[in-house]
Amino acid sequence: MEWVRFVFAAICLVFAAVMESIAVFGVYKFKFVMNRMHAAAIGDTLGLMLGALGLIILKGISWFSLKMFIVVIFLWMTSAISSHVIMRMEYSIDEEAVAEETETIRDVNSSEV
């Protein structure tokens, strides 16, 4: 019985690590922030859920699993919100009509975009 639980937990944890690696790979592969954010969401949702599931299987049902559940639910809610907020910042800073400021400076008078 112990070994069955261990095998299931190991599968979940390894898949979590694979998902997180895919997220990091996507972050390096894509060229634009919004695409990168799309890749990063994999690690924030599926990777974290699989990891938490593996740890819960390893530990059994207890206060630990309740706390882990709370962490996962909280991060599922907040990662969507923070992605939205970052994207809105990017959009409002990068408007062509006001091209300047922070790090996304563009010269209005030159034709280069």
Partner: protein, 135 residues
Amino acid sequence: MTAGAIKVLLIGIMIIYAMLVVLVLMRAVIGPRVADRLMAINMVGTIGIFLMAVISVMLNEDYLLDVSIIYAMISFLSVVILTKVYMGVHEENVLKRHKIEREKREQGIKADDDEWDKLLKSIEETEVPTQLRKK
């Protein structure tokens, strides 16, 4: 019997995640825009929370998970506040620029299109700090 296997598994997972943290931090350093860096820091927060959970299983300390809950809240707060700060700075600069343009217009500088362009350029050159300039 399983205790040794569990320990090996958890340590292996932690090593993989530590390497991923280093990679994401590199993305935060080289990311060309502010949004890249913020996104990378968000990812570092998520991985850190998971690492704390793994450590709490390995040391058999349930209370370490409370730390990770607090960490999740604080990392969310930091992302939201940093985006608000950047948007505020941007808005302030836009307002400043509009003000300068209006003052020039009120002084009665009637320029042709070319001269008006030149004026705008000079305003820009005075406005933007040099270390933020692209070229």
